[in-house]
Structures are given as structure tokens and as C-alpha cells.
Symmetry: C2
Subunit: 214 residues, 2 copies
DNA sequence: AAACTGCCAACTGTCGACAGTCAACAACGC
DNA sequence: GCGTTGTTGACTGTCGACAGTTGGCAGTTT
């Protein structure tokens, strides 16, 4: 059928399902039917079940015994709790990045910031993609694999919460400034300042998400 | 067979496998045979596979395509990286606990510390169980569900690394003092001091594990 | 009319069997 | 004797079918 495919069906199913969830194609609260979805993806229920369980372990799905899986519906309390976790992880990452960063790391961070600002001034709005790229560049500089892994998982859940939300330009402007301040603290090898800036940045983003949610 | 069991076979398999891994009954590096283990647990391969994937998502197993799962072998670099994650999470938890704790929380923490000290002075060594209980009591006071969840997962991985290691009494003595200092900071509602104490505590524990490992 | 009880359809949980892949072993050539 | 290649065995990946449970619907009772 598919001879030179280097990924198992379960692996493909994970990617496909993740896409369906993150794009909001499967709305929050909707129950996922195994047989139906398996047919839609062209695979059997076995691999699909593994994919469902995997995404559940990432927090993108919620399992209910004998009642299947559904995309979680998040309230303000969830957003706050999730950002407490994100703050813990990313502040630590910022600290580590400030103490471990190489010149190449700083250059990369500057490049991402520059591109973000350019895109923002050109199109009145910079894509979320660049925000993710910035945080990932920071993680790279932190060189802490387990923290990096966890931040990626948390960011995914934030993306899930963001689906159906749009950013206001003023908030974007503030984020750009935060990013610049963060790069400056990292470049200056000042861990505690980097942590503080990150904390304020995430507090702002969290507050903005809470108002957009209400 | 087992009529009034309120847990799915996969759920039971998760618990059983977790026990086998954490107790070291399945040594690090050993490959896990699905058919053999399924027979041993008295279930089919389907639920067992789900259990294996679940534990892999918790970091207790490593999956290799077409070659099954095995318990990860951890070196010093892994220990350091894991403790960077643990420090990020538990320092944040200590901060939150210090700012949110109720009198009941403080009482609970005091009780755990007292029992630890009593057991230590009586038997020259206090069980790891009480150390876990202390950190869990602190998490309860922090009231941050996602951080709590992640700390539990990390603690599990630490237990995995600890299997086959024994504590030296002097290190235990230091831990007892750290715990007391932590309770005092939390009781005084001093988040930054709580975070600092936790950081020092975990640095000590990490260093001790690294020396025991070599 | 409202509440309760028994049935029914749909779905999840589980199983056994088949197919594909990888690694070790053996035979062969150099 | 050593490296290479074909073969074989064991194991994982996948599938289709069966069994158990859940929630809803119809029928009945008060």
C-alpha cells in the first residue's frame, strides 16, 4: 500500500489528529468517534486508539472511560493554572539561557526579533509563528532538554486555547518590546533580569488571553 | 474472571508495569517483550501496548520503532537536566505555596516534618516515603494543578533513578533541616525565601545523587 | 403529566490472528 | 581467516471481530 513510508500508521495518526485538534477542526467538547475517525484517516482502530491516548497524555484530549475522548473546554481557571506552569518553565529557561548562551544564540534571538518587528511594521501584525520561533530560540540557548520538551507541550496547549482568538495590535507591540528586553537581558548574561522580564511578559500574555476569553 | 473490577485492563496494566519499572524488577536497558509480558499480566497485547505507550509518555520507558520498549539508562547529564526541570517546577510551587498557604497547609507540613524527624531519630533513617509526602504537601498548598501534575511525573522519574541507590544519613539530616527551613518560609508567607531554600535543597539532593551514581 | 423501569442501539474495551520488519546466524566468496 | 550476503526466527505493527457497558427511548405506572 504505502511502501516507503518511514512513519508508523500510529505516528501518522498522531500528527493528523494533532492538526485536527489544534486547528479547531474538532471543536472543544465534541466527542471523538473512533470508528468514524479511523475510517476518515484510512486506518484501523488500533493505531488510532494509540494516537488518541498519546494526545491525551499531551493534554490535547480528555479521556472518559467508556465514553471516548473529547477536546477539553478550558475556562479562566485553566488558563491561569496553565500559565503558572508555563511561567515556572520559561522563567527557568530564561535564567539558564542568560547563563549559558553563546554568541550564536544571541545572534539567532536578534534575528528572530528583527524579523518580527519587520513583519509587524509591514503588515500591522506579526504571525504567531514568529512568537513561537522566539521562545524556541530561547529554549535552544537554555540547553536543558527536559525543560525544552515540557515547554513545547505547554505551548501546544496554549495554541489550543488560542484557537478562535485574535490578537490586538497593541498587545503585539508590547510583546515585541518584551522580546527585545529579554534578548538584552540574555545578551548581558543577567539571569535574574531575564527571569523577571519573562515573568512580566507571560503575565501580560495571560491577562490578554483572559480578557479575550471573556 | 474478575467481575467487580472498576479499572480497565489497560489501567491495571499501567499500574502493574509502573510497579515493575519503579521497583527495578525490570532492570534498566532490558527490552520488554510484549507477548511474554502480556501473558505474565494475564491480558492481551492490546491493553498492554496502551500501557507501554502511556508509561513511555511519562518517561519511564523508551520506545524504539520495531524494537520495542526498554527502561532508560540515565547518566549524569540526564540527572542534571532532570533536576533543572524539577527545580523550575518545585521552586515555583514553593513560591506559590508561600503566597497561598492556609493555616491547615502549614499544620500539615509541620506534621510531616515532625514525623520525619521522629522516624529519623528512632531508626537512624527516615523512609523516602516521607520525603515524597513532604513535597506533596507543599504542592497541595501551592494549589496549581498543572504544576502539581508535572512535579508528580518528575518525582516518578527521580524514583526511577534512585532505584539501587541508598541514602547516607548525613544527607538525610540535611534534608530534614531543608524541609524545616522551607516550612518556616512558607509559614512566614515569604515566597522568594521559599524559592531560594527549595533551590538549595534540590541542588544538594542532585549533587548527592550524582556522587552516588559515580 | 411526571417519574420509573425495561429494552435497544451505539460505542468502547478486548482479543486472537496476519503481515511486515529487524537482527542474528549460517553459508558463501574473496 | 575475514568480510559479505542470503536465510531464518522472533518480535512488533496492524487488522477485523466479539463482548461488555453506557446513555437514550419507549412503555408503563401513579
Amino acid at each position: 500500500m504505502t511502501p516507503p513510508l518511514h512513519l508508523s500508521l500510529a505516528g501518522q495518526a498522531v500528527d493528523a489528529l494533532r492538526e485536527l485538534v489544534l486547528t479547531g477542526e474538532i471543536p472543544a467538547g465534541t466527542r471523538v468517534n473512533e470508528v468514524e475517525l479511523a475510517a476518515r484517516l484510512g486506518i484501523s482502530r488500533g493505531p488510532l486508539r494509540e494516537a488518541i491516548r498519546h494526545l491525551a497524555s499531551e493534554g490535547l484530549l480528555v479521556l472518559v472511560p467508556h465514553r471516548g475522548a473529547h477536546v477539553p473546554e478550558a475556562g479562566p481557571a485553566d488558563v491561569k493554572a496553565l500559565f503558572e506552569l508555563r511561567t515556572a518553565l520559561e522563567c527557568a529557561a530564561a535564567e539558564l539561557a542568560a547563563s549559558r548562551r553563546t554568541d550564536a544564540d544571541v545572534a539567532r534571538l536578534h534575528a528572530v526579533c528583527a524579523e518580527s518587528r519587520r513583519t509587524y511594521q509591514a503588515g500591522e501584525r506579526f504571525p504567531y509563528r514568529l512568537d513561537l520561533a522566539f521562545h524556541r530560540a530561547l529554549l535552544e540557548a537554555a540547553r536543558s532538554p527536559y525543560i525544552t520538551e515540557q515547554v513545547h507541550l505547554v505551548q501546544q496547549r496554549v495554541v489550543l486555547l488560542r484557537s478562535g482568538l485574535q490578537d490586538h495590535p497593541p498587545h503585539q507591540r508590547a510583546s515585541l518590546d518584551d522580546h527585545d528586553a529579554l534578548v538584552s537581558a540574555v545578551a548581558a548574561a543577567d539571569p535574574s533580569r531575564a527571569s523577571d522580564v519573562m515573568r512580566r511578559h507571560l503575565a501580560r500574555v495571560c491577562a490578554q488571553m483572559l480578557t479575550s476569553l471573556a
